[in-house]
């Protein structure tokens, strides 16, 4: 067993886990943050995307001990639990960017990271290229792309209380 300590959604957490424990397992099973999903076993689907020290990371591809001391944000930590939705979350809802919802947390976390890196004015080819690491089996991606374009613009309007 190995001891780990990190910060998740602003809270300090610790654990004593089998060293084979992936970050996604630690989040889902130890912390009961089940918004981060597992949809494959090849790191292709992106349903597990979280932010580690501000960057998008596939939580299925990282052992939790590898990010000892890091700052992790999951879909649950994107917006204040009692406050309004993060503009990207709101954009997915407004533009019907989801159906079953299983890929959605990963899509939203990837989208926010995309805006952080590429800015607020994202064109279709850019969004589609940046979404290579995220799969969706329901929507055909069209509304996801629209949602991300709109969410990117909305994030520019400066919602200061969100931790992006």
């Amino acid at each position: 067993m190995s001891a780990v300590a990190l910060t998740v959604n602003g809270k300090a957490v610790t654990g004593d886990v089998d060293p084979r424990t992936l970050l996604v397992q630690f989040l889902r099973e130890n912390l009961r943050l089940t918004g981060t999903h597992v949809g494959c076993d090849t790191s292709q689907c992106g349903a597990c995307v979280v932010h580690v020290n501000g960057k998008a990371v596939k939580a299925c591809t990282v052992f939790v001990w590898q990010i000892e001391g890091a700052n992790v944000t999951t879909i649950e930590g994107l917006a204040n639990p009692n406050g309004p939705l993060h503009p990207m979350q709101e954009a997915f809802r407004e533009h019907h960017g989801l159906q079953c919802g299983y890929c959605t947390p990963g899509m939203i976390m990837t989208a926010v990271d995309m805006v952080n890196r590429k800015g607020h004015d994202l064109d279709d080819p850019t969004i589609r290229h940046e979404l290579e690491g995220n799969l969706c089996r329901c929507t055909g991606y069209h509304n996801i792309v629209k949602a991300i374009a709109a969410g990117a613009k909305a994030m520019a309007k400066g919602h200061a209380q969100h931790q992006t």
Partner: protein, 329 residues
């Protein structure tokens, strides 16, 4: 935001929990004291199971039970059924071989489950599964559908000669025959239907919980049809009478054309007797194995379950090259 009037946009209600990560998919369910199941699957396409030695596995830390087809049969757990029976063109019923949830005696495909390990944690179950010793006697295997139906091919199931479970057709033979006779041009084509592997983004999962106080079972499952699941589990697999079996379909991550066939995993969730005490049992592939387990266990579309489904068709066309008739050779 209320919507009224024709043409008003009606916003979905479920998106609130989906965009905030508060959905309740089957694997999100966590029951107090739950244990975990891991399936050991055959690496061989066709083999006799000579012996299964699970003594070492059963002694591993955290292991509660190692169950095989033998226990399934002893507990009189019914076989899985096919959800959609086809009648052949000669009027006979589809040739259905017995299909237990865990293979008994023989494995018929790579991925056929031979044992299930139940342990306190999934890692313990997986570690113990590696210690289960299965002695296989390899048998010849055939993966090409045309060869499987050909002369001299090894018959996999007693009931299905030429490995053919049904021969089905649709249409008006007389009208088609007439159209061919009148066609200006008739040609032969090889048409390929690819194999289908259902791939909803949520891998399948199931949790079974037995309540001794009321002698009833609850099953959480990634199903979009809980009523049929309950009927099948009750009437065919025989887990419990329907009024003692509750099937819950929580949020589900898509079905993507998974055909109405059999799902073995869920039958096993309701076997409380063999565990030392009734504990909720949670089964899904672990993060690493999940998708592979899903492919190997999902009953793929039998009509299309061929690597390369090449059929030879005859196509008739009229003068202006409009198709008038299509018939398999």
């Amino acid at each position: 935001m209320s919507a009224t009037g024709i043409g008003a946009a009606v916003r979905r209600k479920e998106d609130q929990r989906f965009v905030t990560g508060k959905g309740h998919y089957t694997d999100d369910v966590n029951r107090a004291g739950q244990c975990y199941a891991y399936f050991l699957r055959s690496p061989h396409a066709h083999a006799k199971i000579k012996t299964i030695d699970s003594k070492a596995a059963a002694a591993m830390p955290g292991v509660l039970a190692v169950l095989t087809g033998a226990e399934l049969a002893a507990d009189k757990i019914g076989n899985l059924i096919c959800g959609w029976m086809i009648t052949s063109k000669d009027g006979s019923q589809m040739k259905m071989a017995p299909h237990p949830a865990i293979a008994h005696g023989k494995v018929n495909y790579v991925g056929d489950a031979v044992a299930v390990v139940i342990a306190e944690t999934l890692s313990q179950a997986k570690d113990a599964a590696e210690k289960v010793k299965v002695d296989y006697q390899l048998l010849p295997a055939v993966a090409d559908p045309a060869k499987a139906q050909g002369q001299g091919a090894l018959q996999i199931h007693e009931v299905a000669a030429r490995n053919t479970i049904y021969q089905w057709h649709l249409g008006d033979a007389n009208a088609v025959g007439a159209a061919f006779r009148a066609a200006k041009h008739v040609t032969k084509l090889d048409l390929i239907n690819n194999r289908l592997v259902p791939n909803a983004i949520e891998p399948r999962a199931a949790i079974g919980e037995y309540d001794a106080g009321s002698d009833s079972l609850t099953l959480w499952n990634t199903t979009q049809n809980p009523h049929v699941a309950r009927l099948v589990m009750s009437a065919f697999v025989g887990l419990a009478p329907e009024h003692k079996l509750r099937v819950i379909a929580p949020d589900v991550g898509g079905a993507q054309n998974r055909p109405a066939g059999k799902v073995g995993g869920r039958a096993l969730r309701g076997i409380p007797h063999r565990c030392p005490w009734p504990r909720p049992c949670h089964a899904r592939g672990d993060g690493v194995r999940r998708r592979r387990q899903d492919h190997r266990s999902a009953r793929q579309d039998h009509r299309q379950s061929r690597r390369l489904y090449v059929d030879v068709f005859v196509l008739g066309a009229d003068l202006s090259l409009r198709h008038v008739a299509l018939r398999p050779v």
